[in-house]
Amino acid sequence: MPDTPRTVSLFITCLLDTLFPDVAQAAVDILNKQGVHVRVPSGQTCCGQPGFNAGYWDEARVLARHTIDLFGDSDEPVLMASGSCASMIAHYYPVLFQGDPEYGPRAQALAGRVVEFTQYLVDHLGVTDLGAHYEASVVYHPSCHTLRGMHVDRQPRALLSAVRGLRVLEQRQPATCCGFGGMFAVKMGDISGAMLADRLDAFEETGADMVVGCDISCLMHIEGGLRKRHSRMKAMHIAQLLAEGLKA
């Protein structure tokens, strides 16, 4: 562990804030246990991705400006337990504010500070074995924005493989989109449903107890589908699984 205590700012993300606060708390607890101090700037709302992805860039910019203002202009890493929101800030805030004399450089700066949760643990803290224990068989779903947006894949797999009692199984065509895609899930509902069905079938074919991932938007859509088909499989965010594993 470093001499000076580390501090990160947490960008909760709107989905974790409203629907899955336990997951955000789990992430904070894990970081605290690693000696990391977590600040949570107050007044967070949403990174603006839903609007941006739907083509409403002006609306997205309002939310993005608020986010940029909130996180200030420092070097402190901005930690996000969500590959898609992290990707939004890291890749698309600069696009949103291209040519903007004030927010352009600030967007670029914030984009450079964003770190995904597992990426922070493994690459910044150098930790893969948290000492967790969890008896289950899991299949890891690599969310598209986590995998291709943030280039994070090795890190969550390393963390999972270090959990005692955990068996990680592989599904067919693993790096395939679950079909969430934000508004796509509703606007293109039948296509989304078909893509989801394919993934759920793939997960269930492995016989695993659980689907684990790093992106709550995918997991919410996957769990919604598992419940609808009365599957015995559960879905969990990796932060939750690790936090549960540390309680043992």
Binding site: P21, G55, A194, G224
Partner: protein, 471 residues
């Protein structure tokens, strides 16, 4: 046929696609197989990633210097007695080909696969002028007989079973029904051989035009491409103005990636370099070579933030990997160009009104960018097009209202917390826990396939604030 292949609205086309489970399964089988074969083929390159980087750099440099390379190409072709024509749009391109047919007295025209010929609606125009047009690429031949549009840019009838092909041959060619694939291929071979030997004109596309030599490069497997560019006395090659590379060395780089990305072959069986018409002392080959350089909206892409789509080499890898394409197949896109590349190029060439949904028919998963031999950033291009569809008022009303509401409620911390409390109220009123019922209106699309998650009693931020003030 022209760029737009259907008059039905997008959602109707998608529904229709889902109705045919066999067809969906056929598309899935084919695309998964091509995807796997591509991976194997790339591994056989000494360094696939470095090759892709170089290929991207070649395309980028070429598009940035397009006028220079096109004029160099033109001069090289003309110096060997070939003729170069320029077409601003589809109508002009069709007229040019009609004029050549008329001048040369061509009556029977044999075609090899050419996406751009479909884009400009060439066949219909030629037939309308009383000319006989026969597609010779097996997939296109079948599609032509069946009266269907191709559904994939490399494998035109990937959506048909052999039984369906057998029925088409039996009814249209008057042969006894068979669904044995080798027999179906033999039937096609026999029918088309007679066509090759009697056609007056061959029309091909162009995979790559080489500026330094004035060469048209055609990558084919069946031999029909060679037949129609060797036997008829006139050869017409159509090319989009972006289908050009500077040198033979550049061509060799692109050819390392084209077939591997498309079908997993290292090279197609025949890679033909056609440079000028038959020489005076050559015994065989066309007497006349005409190359038609077509714009038809490509310069519109070139002028702005969509220019990167012109890097595309039409390999089809993006179609093979796209989970949306895999589920809905090519016809649902309603365009000659389906899949990720189609979702970008169709609204550009054909206008947003005709193709407004296509940029939204994607989760932006990025698999396309992952497999693209020239690393086109599809997600960003699709996002820009989505912004345009909104600007042009092509967004459904409920989406706009929803977006405005969302922007409003998430626009301030206070309203955001209020939205959460309203959500928590909904969750309480519906029994707590995951909502099993149907949400109203367009939101029912969610609950058709999923339960809806519960809003928490308190947001994380609310709990955090309490915790800070307590501890």
């Amino acid at each position: 046929m022209s760029l737009q292949t259907s008059q039905q609205p997008f959602h109707a086309r998608v529904s229709k696609a889902f109705e045919n489970a066999e067809r969906v399964a056929a598309v899935r089988r084919a695309t998964v197989r091509f995807y796997d074969q591509r991976l194997t083929a790339l591994r056989s390159l000494p360094d696939a990633e470095a090759t892709r980087d170089l290929a991207r750099a070649i395309r980028a440099h070429t598009i940035a210097n397009l006028d220079k390379y096109l004029t160099q190409f033109e001069a090289a072709v003309q110096a060997l007695g070939g003729q170069v024509h320029w077409a601003r749009d589809a109508a002009e391109a069709r007229q040019i080909v009609l004029d050549i047919a008329q001048k040369t007295g061509a009556k029977r025209i044999a075609k090899s696969k050419s996406m751009i010929s479909e884009e400009i609606g060439l066949n219909k125009a030629l037939e309308g002028a009383g000319l006989e047009v026969i597609e010779t690429d097996l997939g296109e031949f079948i599609a032509q007989l069946a009266g269907e549009h191709p559904s994939h840019i490399i494998v035109p009838v990937l959506h048909l079973t052999r039984q369906e092909v057998g029925k088409v041959f039996a009814s249209k060619l008057g042969v006894p029904y068979t669904d044995v694939i080798s027999e179906l291929n033999s039937i096609a071979r026999e029918k088309l051989r007679e066509v090759y030997l009697s056609a007056d004109m061959g029309i091909s596309g162009c995979n790559f035009a080489v500026a330094e030599t004035g060469t048209i490069c055609l990558a084919t497997n069946e031999g029909n491409g060679r037949m129609i560019t060797s036997l008829p006395r006139v050869h017409v090659a159509l090319m989009g103005l972006e289908r050009i590379v500077p040198t033979l060395s550049d061509l060799s780089v692109m050819l390392q990636l084209l077939a591997r990305s498309a079908t997993g072959q290292k090279l197609t069986v025949y890679t033909s370099l056609i440079t000028g018409p038959r020489r005076a002392n050559e015994p065989h080959g066309p007497e006349e070579l005409h190359i038609v350089i077509v714009d038809n909206g490509r310069t519109r892409a070139l002028a702005g933030e969509m220019a990167e789509i012109l890097y595309c080499i039409r390999c089809g890898a993006c179609l093979n990997v796209c989970p949306v394409y895999r589920n809905i197949g090519g016809h649902a896109y309603g365009s000659v160009y389906p899949g990720p590349v189609g979702s970008v190029i169709s609204p550009i060439l054909g206008g947003i009104p005709a193709f407004a949904e296509l940029p939204h028919a994607s989760t932006l998963c990025g698999a396309c960018q992952d497999v693209c031999p020239v690393r086109i950033d599809f997600p960003t291009l699709l996002l820009r097009l989505r912004r345009e569809t909104v600007r042009q008022g092509r967004s459904p009303v409920w989406v706009t209202l929803g977006m405005k509401a969302y922007a409003f409620m998430a626009g301030s911390p206070g309203r955001f917390q209020l939205a959460e409390r309203l959500g928590a109220l909904f969750t309480r009123l519906t029994g707590g826990g995951w909502f099993k019922g149907q949400l109203p209106g367009p939101l029912s699309a969610w609950t058709r396939y999923r339960f809806f998650p519960p809003f928490n009693r308190k947001t994380f931020q609310a709990r955090w604030k309490e915790r800070q003030s307590n501890g």
